[in-house]
Amino acid sequence: MIELQDVSRVYHRGADEIHALEHVTLHIARGRFAALMGPSGSGKSTLLNILAGLDRPSRGSVVVAGQKLNDLSEDELAAFRARHVGFVFQFFNLIPVLNARQNVELPLLLTHLGKAERRERAQTALRVVGLGERAEHTPSELSGGEQQRVAIARAIVTDPEIVVADEPTGDLDAKNAVEILALLRDLARDFGKTVVMVTHDPRGEAFVDEIHHLDKGVLGDPAPEPRA
């Protein structure tokens, strides 16, 4: 599902070169729940951005869902993300002026679905994450855990093959963090999604199928973990 071959990413900050990733080769199979772990500045988010089509490698090949991302233009990458990738962010990043259902509907605006169909699918996605009754609430009326569930509903509403989550439990209390981790695990286990999560949260280790450690942009050997 996700194939990175000898990927490097170099940023230029003034005269300095920052090597965020160096010669990363990574394979994540379909339906797996993978965690990218490592200290701050180790390149986890950079790697996540690259495999999600948000950023481009300086070197190396990125193939996701059978599509080589290196060759795609900005607009093609946007279309790729709309079709294949769902996103979950640390700070939920819901649009505050839209209610939960409208937030979940956002990715569906890029499809050819009619209004009624969009509404129905958004409602279904909210039910999947256990928020069917909270559809008309705005983000400010929802708790942190509920907001993250809405973000997950938004990530899965288009039925993408891949869900990427950047520190999804970073802004949650322990109870909500565990619930979100379980939900992400269910997406992989029950719905066949490939879920890639960047996390510092050690509780995540119990939920994932595999952990990839990064340090200073270099990927360590994969360490498969049993699911909880």
């Binding site: 951005n49 950023d55 279309a79 709309a82 640390q90 990043n93 649009i95 409208q102 990715p107 890029l110």
Partner: protein
């Protein structure tokens, strides 16, 4: 259309700022619409006050230079001339110490009713004007201003001629804006003869033509007739004659239109600033939308649409407000009014409404393009890194 609710919600995000920006744009568009009525309003006013069959003939050197009085007869003899009358500026002053003056002219009484048939002077008053050598016909504006009435006796002190003349008011020009004070030329002539002078010149000649189609050739014929004479003439239509008095106003209108253009430019900057602030505040959200798959063109289009809708709504409000305002004035006074002046003639037409709306949409477009372009081009990963 499916993105309209998203655009609308974003506009409603900061209601006060949206309302203030729309209000500023609406005010500017309203101002522009009102100012755009001025050229056509002046034209309409001129059409109301000027006859299309009346021609004025004056010295080609300028209005202050006289013409020989004999020219009047020559002009009257031309085919197509229904009637012709001369005006000779007397320059009389009422209440010298206060400097009260008004346009006062010596005129032949006989053709008065024919040359200015549209003034609709009462027949009995016209008859009295012919009968009494010291009679005067006075415009209603001057009558009201001075508090005079028919039958009053007044004296004007001559400033151009060394004679003071006493008049009895025998009639009025029933028009609220008419300031004229007309009296018999014969009266002035006799007074001057008594003072040892002759009145053998005139100021201007007014000619009533029988057919509007004949006006242009007749003017050419008159000017040709006096070509190479001691006093060559310049003929023009009454509208053109009055328009020359409005020329200063036209220059004023031009200045106002330039200022209006600058105001519109300022509004572009205000709207652009609002759009920039709005985009800056939502960089994170825009990055999220891009991450979800919203392409650069879509982001650009929705942000520009937001600015255009805001500006369009403000502009529509402003244009309609200006329409309502001028309709209100027009309902109170369809042309000249003593309290409103010519304002009743200035009407916001459909064309002006459309121009106002297009201005608003243009302002929205221009103000939205730069911040939208910047937001659309911004890298998603870089924005997510910076904002979160």
């Amino acid at each position: 259309m499916k993105f309209l609710p998203l655009i609308w919600r974003n506009l409603a995000r900061n209601k006060l700022r949206t309302a203030l920006t729309a209000g500023a744009i609406g005010l500017a568009v309203s101002l522009v619409c009102l100012l755009l009525t001025m050229p056509s309003g002046l034209d309409m006013l001129l059409n109301q006050v000027a006859s299309n069959t009346r021609v004025v003939v004056h010295n080609e050197a300028g209005l202050v230079y006289p013409l020989p009085y004999s020219d009047l007869q020559k002009i009257r003899s031309l085919p197509g001339v229904v009637a012709a009358a001369s005006w000779t500026w007397y320059g009389g002053v009422f209440e010298v110490e206060k400097g009260v003056t008004f346009p006062n002219f010596a005129v032949e009484p006989e053709p008065l009713g024919s040359v200015w048939a549209d003034w609709k002077i009462d027949a009995k008053q016209l008859e009295d004007f012919r009968r009494y050598r010291d009679g005067a016909i006075v415009g209603r504006a001057t009558l009201k201003r001075q508090g005079w009435k028919i039958g009053d006796l007044i004296t004007l002190k001559g400033t151009l001629y060394p004679v003071d003349l006493s008049f009895r008011i025998v009639g009025e020009i029933p028009n609220e804006r008419a300031p004229h004070f007309l009296f018999q030329r014969e009266y002035l002539d006799q007074a001057l003869k008594a003072a040892g002078r002759n009145l053998d010149t005139l100021g201007i000649v007014w000619v009533r033509v029988d057919d509007p189609a004949r006006v242009a050739p007749l003017m050419a014929q008159i000017d040709q007739m006096f070509k190479n004479s001691e006093a060559e003439t310049a003929s023009e239509t009454e509208k053109s004659y009055f328009a020359s008095f409005f020329s200063m106003l036209s220059a004023f209108v031009t200045i106002i239109l330039i200022v209006t253009g600058l105001v519109a430019l300022c509004i572009v900057f205000i709207a652009a600033n609002t759009a920039s602030m709005s985009v800056r505040e939502r960089l994170g959200e825009i990055a999220v939308l891009k991450a979800l798959g919203f392409g650069r063109r879509l982001i650009f289009a929705t942000l520009v649409a937001e600015a255009v809708i805001l500006s369009g709504l403000g502009g529509a409000f402003g244009a309609l407000a200006s329409l309502g305002f001028t309709q209100l004035l027009h309902a109170r006074a369809s042309s000249w009014n003593s309290s409103l002046g010519p304002l009743g003639s200035f009407i916001v037409t459909e064309t002006i409404l459309v121009q106002g709306l297009f201005l608003a949409l243009f302002v929205g477009m221009i103000s939205g393009v730069v911040p939208a372009f910047g937001a659309a081009r911004r890298s998603v990963a870089a924005t997510l890194r910076e904002v979160f």
